[in-house]
Symmetry: C2
Subunit: 333 residues, 2 copies
DNA sequence: GTGAAAGCGCTAACAG
DNA sequence: CTGTTAGCGCTTTCAC
């Protein structure tokens, strides 16, 4: 059926060791033998059995990527980049979807044994500090995005406070005075940080901070953004700008504004967060915080590589990747 | 370090076989032994080494999913569903991104050895018939979407001709008379079928079919849709409706129309294809063909399962999954 | 330089 | 019902 190392060895008239040496690029093989092995290799169409190789080598060849859902554009884009980055380190990526529920996140985390994966990149949404308790002893773990609780894990993210402050600073700079926020959520670490950035930008501009302008969002889907925006626009005194904690919320907000006859940006400006591809084509296109997703993916994979290599263990890393503010029509003049 | 079956056996004072039996849910184990094994299992925190198990069982535990890019919403959504469907069959999904280039698709196809994966679901974009030549002898392969060339592979897709005819029929039914198409591409199998459906709907309505109304698209991204639409709108006599071969093209078309002051649907109606989540929230929201993606994912995984099970080989399957027309604002009154 | 042989962790005959 | 044992395909000492 499929050629094994042994088949190749028999055909070439050498031992498996020699074949293995050739396959793995070991330098010292007698030219004559090398030639015969290579011939047998192509003749049989040999392909190494990665599973067996990894079993022997004590590595799995996989890293896990835990995300809420691949259908969420940000995570679809990120997953694509992680796969690309992992490929360069000879890793395949196993994607675990949790729907953002704590229970499934916890179960996924628990299933990340060393014989399953060599490491994992996790993007938790609902996990609490205690859920990480037993896990830290296992494989290298890198956390993406902030988390409210302090967890002793490597961590890659943009400076969420600064990013939010930049976004809202852009709005105050435009002369907007009644700036709302959509996405408040006590269970999301990033929400707290983005809210903090929002508040500090308002304070910096000497603007009041009425509670009614901070709209919660249970989830971060388009629908939630539309609902929150509908609420804000029905206020006696509606906002003249909105900072949404992600692009999906902003897309929903855009629609709610249009449905109620508010013009964007004339009546109300909108800023998003994530710079998903969709945001460049919405009507109007979305001003948004653009995290360097490629850097996030590469940094995360690299951290796992460094942790899984032998050598001095190093202290917990907290890497901040760059971001920029992408100014588009939704806050344009 | 990590507990193995042997460790558990030693601790429980039984043989590995007994432990294996318990782990694999074999019914006939003496209650007393079962109890002791279960105790040892939790005491050691044993987790099976899936790699070793699969090596022994002669399966890999993986199926591959070949897509152009995960950042394309349709494929992000589909991949999520495939992962979910595969999980039920105890399969993990390895995602291979090809960027839709023939070279990478070919290489991916060639790398799909039986020791890598138990099967593969491929969504080729540029592959030609000859590229499948050596591949068919390997693992079960399921192709998604149509392909121009006839390849002896299991195949899951909606009825593209009928779907396109339905979409365009909707436009003719609305009284549109100059209906354009965006997405013509000689290298894409689905393009030919959707074009055929488009033509037959026009013929059915007794409408002329000027060549100038069929706009090509090299890729199917938002940008391509915008460019094609810009071209159509600059025609001496612009169309009053456009059928786009996917949602991304339609989103781009929406923007091009808005930039040129065309109102959708008043001046020009637009229909998309795929029903990506984005299409329900664009402004205006997009009328689109909604394939049952869950059915596609499940059918594809199921086909691989049936092919990889022992038993009578069955003839090549060509499964048509259901679709519907989702009518929204972009063709609304 | 290369061969023989052990064994990664697991499952499945085969005995008993 | 359960223990012993032989590999799955590969890498890797250890001799020669």
């Amino acid at each position: 059926m499929v050629a094994t190392l042994k088949d190749v060895a028999t055909l070439a008239g050498v031992s498996v060791k020699t074949v293995s040496n050739v396959v793995n690029g070991y330098a010292f093989v007698k030219p004559e033998n090398r030639r015969r092995v290579e011939e047998a290799l192509t003749a049989t169409g040999y392909r190494p059995n990665v599973g067996a190789r990894n079993l022997r080598r004590g590595r799995t060849g996989f890293i896990a990527l835990m995300v809420p859902e691949l259908s969420i554009p940000y995570f679809g884009e990120l997953a694509g980049l992680v796969i690309t980055a992992a490929q360069k380190q000879d890793w395949s990526v196993l994607i675990e979807q949790t729907q953002g529920t704590r229970d499934r996140e916890r179960r996924t985390l628990a299933s990340l044994g060393p014989h399953m994966v060599d490491g994992a990149i996790v993007s938790p949404e609902a996990l609490e500090a205690e859920d990480f308790a037993g896990v830290t002893g296992g494989v290298p773990l890198v956390m993406l995005g902030e988390h409210a609780v302090d967890v002793p894990l490597d961590h890659v993210a943009i400076d969420n406070v600064l990013a939010a402050r930049t976004a809202v600073g852009h709005l105050t700079g435009l002369g907007r005075r009644r700036i709302a926020a959509i996405g408040q959520n006590p269970h999301r670490g990033t929400a707290a940080l983005r809210l903090e950035g929002y508040r500090s930008a308002l304070a910096e501009a000497g603007l009041p901070q009425p509670d009614e302008l901070v709209a919660p969002a249970l989830n971060y889907h388009r629908r939630d953004g539309a609902e929150a925006m509908a609420h804000l626009l029905s206020l006696p005194e509606p906002p003249d700008a909105v900072f949404c904690f992600n692009d999906l919320l902003a897309i929903g907000a855009l629609r709610a504004a249009a449905e109620r006859g508010f013009r964007v940006p004339a009546d109300i400006a909108i800023v998003g967060f994530d710079n998903t591809e969709e945001s460049a084509y919405s009507l109007p296109s979305l001003t948004t915080i653009a995290p360097d997703k490629t850097a996030i993916a590469q940094t995360a994979v690299d951290l796992i590589r460094r942790r899984s290599e032998p050598g001095e263990p190093f202290e917990r890393q907290d890497v901040q990747t760059p971001f920029s503010l992408e100014i588009r029509e939704s806050t344009g003049t």
